[in-house]
Symmetry: C2
Subunit: 391 residues, 2 copies
């Protein structure tokens, strides 16, 4: 299933999940979400990971053919699982965890019917919590993603040509990301959020509200995907906010940089400076034990005192957060929002994105990916943070 | 919510859904899946479409701000829906449809609790059935997508340069698709299927099994996305199967073409001719009233008689279908599989993809998008179908 040198990593993850299961009295966790299958096995497969509260995980695989490894059982359908467990001498669980927040209702009912005696509880929060604190291996993966991501951003000005539309620029940036090894897809928890590789917002379009819960919006090219660029030509006086996600290793990094054409307004430049000041203040304050809501409040207070409350995290429509955990998915814990209950802890990885929308000009601000260390936070996406002229 | 000239289209869709609801005795359908929100409103929004068995649909919108139109009610959370219905003089439903096959278990339970008196049934099959027969407007959208898609494929040889890896060629094809107006994302029903814009399979990698239920596989670049190209250099004697999805209008078209480097084996050429023969035979046989399983059997019989059974629809791992409906999602009805219950009807749109995997060489075959007419089928993706040399 996975290579020998990955065994220790899988043991570490299993240990974390099992210790949480024991605390909540769960006997087993039947995992079937792609991201969680990857987390528990090191690869995507069609099937289920069966995690007992103690002992070996069993991989029940439907596809692909040809996998081998310990604790791997091929099945055609989940209804075969109880017989296979019996064959392996594993008792049926009395308390079973299922991913209630990602299984469809129909799938959940089907799995419940396979374990009619079990009390079923929601396992999604548990495994998402386990994933929130990254292992050293995972941090190395995100570091690698961030390095490639940064290298791509450094070359962003080189693929601009005068007269481009926001979409044309986005297309060249997407190609650049792919040439740096991006896998292309952005995994997002919850099925209502949709985006292509990321967003490029120029001028007035930055103020277009979107149905999605991303930090900023944009009208998009079509009402079937109302997010990001809308095909407008980028003009002198515009800022261009580039927020292309980085999935170079299966693990996401997230970063945004702002470019400009011609002379942008003093107000936009000032708001950008406020974003950098917010980031600096948070870099001083953030460390294990600090509530994520405090981090949000630091940002909000600075924005408010600088007179930019009405532009903070959007203008016509505002985002309710200034940052979010990243990992296998783009939207993990911690969430930096006023009512967040998350507390910073060593090994968390998050993107911080204090942004402002200036009508007629565009969006400004910076976004970087950080890892929480023993006594602070470390920035992983290191490159120019000023507004970068494209012309 | 939608423009005046789109009203007739929305009425047509509403009429179709309501007539099906009346037949099955449902009082209301609360829709929240993005694709179905788009189908019932003409745009993506965060919220719910409430479809009564008769009368106007109500759009309950959370985001974006600033929408206007008839029957539009802003809400913060779905728990407000009963009060809003009461305010509008609409009786609470006794039989309610929910999308059990796409709502998560947690979301479904939340919505059920809002309608505690209602008997809840699965609405997913109903709305997917409604979407199976496309309206003239939808066929025009797919026709437009197919035209752009075809134009992109005609230029595919022009972006090849010698020594490219499969991924490098894929990147240039993705860019070409975007420059032709592709929105990038591929919507797929069911959350376990993942792909970036599509796949480029060259040489031996075409025989690599994938966990996903696509027609063919490929190892991919990373175990976190095991599908499509794996970074191999494309070599003389290889075929290169390009299957980049076409989402140019919100509606998908689907097509594949095969390219070659150097001289490919006679066996591969012969298998490609068999694919074209299968397509011709199906073009003669397919019309309203014909079972989708018969179409599958036509293909299988021709493949078997030609001695290509072991290469048909994969080699190490096989797909169980030779075609699938397309529309807002890539995998709609009808499904062309041995045990499919689907029957062809006027207005269905589908992709037909009889393919073969020849070990060491690559994949061959053709894929086109067709619409079912009153007395046959019409091909929408019209360009060269022979194996096209890249060198």
């Amino acid at each position: 299933m996975y290579t020998k040198n990955f065994e220790t990593e899988i043991e570490l993850r299993k240990g974390k999940i099992q210790s949480m299961m024991q605390k909540c009295g769960a006997d087993a966790f039947l995992v079937s979400d792609n991201v969680n299958l990857f987390y528990t096995s090191g690869r995507i497969f069609a099937g289920y990971t069966y995690i007992p509260a103690a002992g070996e995980m069993i991989y029940f695989v439907r596809r692909p053919v040809g996998l081998s490894g310990d604790n791997l059982v091929y099945i055609r359908k989940p209804e075969q699982i109880p017989d296979e467990l019996a064959r392996l001498g594993i008792a049926m669980p009395k308390v079973l965890l299922l991913e209630n927040d990602s299984l469809t209702y129909s799938e959940a009912i089907r799995l419940r019917n396979i374990f009619p005696e079990a009390k079923v509880e929601n396992g999604t929060p548990l495994i998402r919590n386990a994933r929130t604190i990254k292992t050293p291996y995972e941090i190395a993966m995100i570091r690698e993603s961030a390095a490639r991501h940064t290298s791509m951003y450094r070359k962003a000005p080189s693929v601009y040509t005068p007269g481009m539309s926001d979409i044309e620029y986005s297309i060249e940036l997407e190609r650049l990301a792919r040439l740096h090894g991006s896998l292309g897809i952005v995994r997002i928890f919850g099925k209502s959020m949709e985006i292509y590789m990321g967003s490029v917002l120029a001028g007035e379009n930055a103020d277009e509200p979107s149905p999605y819960d991303f930090a900023l919006g944009g009208a998009g090219l079509d009402p079937s995907l109302p997010i990001s660029g809308n095909g407008s030509i980028m003009r002198p006086g515009n800022t261009i906010m580039v927020d292309i996600g980085g999935n170079f290793t299966g693990y996401m990094s997230d970063m945004s940089r702002v470019f400009s054409l011609g002379e942008v307004s003093e107000k936009a430049k000032e708001a950008h400076r406020v974003s950098l000041a917010i980031q600096s203040e948070i870099e001083r304050a953030a460390k294990p034990g600090v509530p994520a809501s405090d981090i949000y409040n630091i940002a909000f207070d600075i924005a408010q005192k600088a007179g930019f409350e009405s532009n903070f995290m959007g203008h016509r429509q505002k985002a309710g957060f200034i940052g979010h955990g990243v990992g296998l998915e783009l939207n993990e814990a911690p969430v930096f929002a006023p009512r967040s209950k998350d507390i910073l802890a060593e090994g968390m990885v998050f993107a911080l994105e204090p942004k402002f929308v200036i009508p007629q000009v565009g969006a400004v601000g910076v976004e970087n990916t950080f890892v929480v260390t023993a006594d602070g936070i470390e920035k992983l996406t290191l490159c120019e943070e000023e507004i970068i002229p494209l012309d």
